[in-house]
Structures are given as C-alpha cells and as structure tokens.
C-alpha cells in the first residue's frame, strides 16, 4: 500500500492550541451541539399554525394612548361604529382631536361638547348620504379611561345622544364569564 502525504485535516487551521483543544472537545464537553432539524421544523410549523388560527384579519380596534379601559364580564361583541375616546381631558373621534373636557371638569356641570357634537353630526349626515333609504343605527363607542369622572362621561354620553347617537357602547376589556 503506497504511503501518501496526509491531506488537510479538520480543525488544523486553528492556530491557538487551547482553542483547538476546546473545539475538539479533548477531555471536556464540546462547545458545538447538533440541532435536530426535524423537531425544529415541527415546532416552527406548530407555532405558525397556532398563530394563524388566532390571527384576526379585521385588525385590532385602536386604543388611544393613555387610555386604560376597565374590565367587565357581561359584555357584547364589538361593532363597527365611530369611536369617541377620552384621554385625560382630550376628546378624540376615530383618532382625530375633537375638543376637550376641561370646561366640564372645572364647572362640574353637565354640558355639551360643541366640537364633538359637530363632528358626530357630520359623520351622521355622511352616513345618511352614503346609505340612502336605510335606518341610521345611531351607535357610538366610548373609549374612556378608567379614572375619568362621571360628569365627563355623562356629558359625552349626552352630547353623542343629541348628535343622533342614542345607542352608546362603552368599550371595556373582556373578562371571562363566571359560572353562576
């Protein structure tokens, strides 16, 4: 059998001896580990399937920054309607600033928020033009921070009612129902 010069050897390119020893695992545990591709891909596919099942194509209802919604148990499903948010003393309709409630907080009296009233009325007129011959549902959703005072809630509630939205829904976090 002819004798050959030895060819290239794995790990011989590593210059430092202690690194080579460490990588080769002489006397100690190797630093590299094998990863089973089959189980890894199985895991990834299961995660993808789970996330796809919980995916909502309709998107998330936007929550205005600074609003912490209280939670409730006896709730209904969300509907598509204008969202009036109250964050601090600022009022927003579908994310656009629509007045503030400082005057109500200072006077402690029930009063109409004129800017909000005009915007909601405009939205109502627009809906009627877009859907001729159909009854206006008059639904509005209030997204109110948990610490907002009752007088502000009542004022916004009344403003929405006068603007033609008598069916008011209060947005809340959904709690799992207790068995009674």
């Amino acid at each position: 059998m002819p004798v050959h010069n030895p060819g290239r050897r794995l790990m011989h390119g590593i210059g430092l001896k202690f690194v080579r020893r460490k990588v080769l695992g002489h006397g100690s545990r190797a630093v590299t580990a094998n990863l089973s591709l089959t189980s890894m891909i199985d895991f990834l596919v299961v995660v993808v399937v789970f996330l796809l099942m919980t995916f909502s194509a309709s998107g998330e209802t936007p929550l205005t920054k600074g609003v912490h919604l209280p939670k409730a148990e006896n709730t209904s499903d969300m509907v598509d309607a204008p969202i009036v948010a109250i964050a601090g003393s600022q009022v927003f309709v579908d994310g656009a600033p629509s007045g503030n409630t400082r005057a109500i907080e200072d006077s402690k009296r029930l009063q109409r928020v004129d800017e909000l009233f005009n915007i909601l009325k405009g939205k109502r007129e627009l809906w009627k033009q877009l859907h001729p011959g159909r009854d206006f549902p008059g639904v509005v959703l209030l997204q109110v921070d948990q610490d907002v005072q009752a007088i502000v809630v009542k004022s916004i509630f009344q403003t929405a009612a006068f603007a033609g939205y008598p069916n008011v829904g209060f947005m809340v976090g959904d709690l799992p129902k207790n068995k009674h």
Binding site: M78, N167, V168, M171, D174
Partner: protein, 188 residues
C-alpha cells in the same frame, strides 16, 4: 440536506427533489415574526347603554295608559346602593344593598365588581320585573344615579352588575338569553 423521495429512478433522471432548508426556515421565521407582531392579545368588548332621547311620536306607537315601572339605582353613598322601583313619580319599593368596592388590580387596569348588587338586582327583577316573557319585545329600564366625581371604573362595575340579570328573548324561532335591563343615566 433534506430530500423527498418520490420513487422512480431506474436509469432515468432522478425524481427526488431537495428542499433547501435555509430559505424554508427563514420563511417560517418571517411568518412567525409577522403573526406575532400583528397578533391581538387584548380582547375588547362593549357594554351598552341607551340614551333615551325623546323623539317625535311614531305613528304605530300606542300611547301607554300608565307609566312603566323602572328600577333606579343610586350609587351616591359610599357604604350602600339604593334600589328604587318607581312608577312615574311614585316610589313603589326601596331596597338598600350594602356596598363593598371589590377592586382588583391587574397591572394598570382595575376591575371593580359588585357580586351582592348583581344578585340583588337579579332577585328584584325576578320578583318585580315587568317584561319577563320571552315573547315580550320590551326590556325593563334601569336608571343609574351617580355623583359627578365617581370614577368611570365604578360606573362600569355597577352597569356590569345590572347586566348580570338575564331573561329569555325570542329571536325568530330561537330563544336567546339577553340582559333583563336596559341601562341609562340620570342627568341630575
């Protein structure tokens, strides 16, 4: 590399095809990242209230001969709720329910519950509610009285307790369970 054996062969061109693992794992990772970013973790719902704005009388509406009984819920006191059944301006019955603010915190969000109030309202409706039959399309009215400074979370706690009482309601051929009361606010 992983391969999929689809048989065949025998001197012809091999029918085995190989899937490149690197782009496949990349694709799975990108899909997972996208789904995680777009996932909705907070489930929102709504609690209804009726504004009862007086409008023009409808042609088909029969004028009621006498006012209906309504349940007024007073939450102005810190130690008790007062339930008042009223018919027009006449007080039919008054019940005191001890108030215990059961506040639970979950991070920034607080949950207020009044189980005793919910049980009492349910019992009151079963005893004195006007619209209890499944074929009755009307719903009893509950009017919430609160002071001006009460934080919103306590109002939601009380409305949640009111909506715990349910009644049967005919929807077509099916009978569904709907809240026994329709809630509105008192303005004074």
């Amino acid at each position: 590399m992983a391969g999929i054996d689809v048989g065949g062969g025998g001197g012809k061109r091999a029918l085995d095809s190989e899937i490149n693992m690197i782009p496949m794992i990349d694709l799975l990772m990108v899909t997972i990242s996208f789904l995680l970013l777009t996932a909705v973790w907070t489930h929102m719902a709504r609690i209804n209230a009726d504004a009862q704005v007086p409008g023009p009388p409808r042609v088909d509406e029969v004028t009621p001969t006498e006012p209906e009984k309504q349940l007024h819920i007073e939450m102005r006191a810190t130690d008790k709720f007062v339930l008042i059944w009223k018919q027009g301006n006449t007080v039919v019955n008054t019940i005191d329910v001890p108030r215990q603010d059961n506040v639970q915190s979950a991070g920034n969000v607080k949950v207020v519950r009044y189980p005793d109030l919910a049980a009492k309202i349910q019992a009151e409706w079963q005893m004195s509610g006007t619209h209890r039959d499944a074929s009755d399309k009307k719903i009893d009215q509950a009017i919430l009285h609160t002071d001006n400074e009460t934080p919103y979370m306590y109002i939601i706690g009380v409305i949640d307790a009111i909506y715990q009482a349910h009644r049967p309601y005919n929807v077509g051929t099916k009978v569904e369970q709907v809240p026994s009361f329709n809630v509105t606010f008192s303005v004074n």
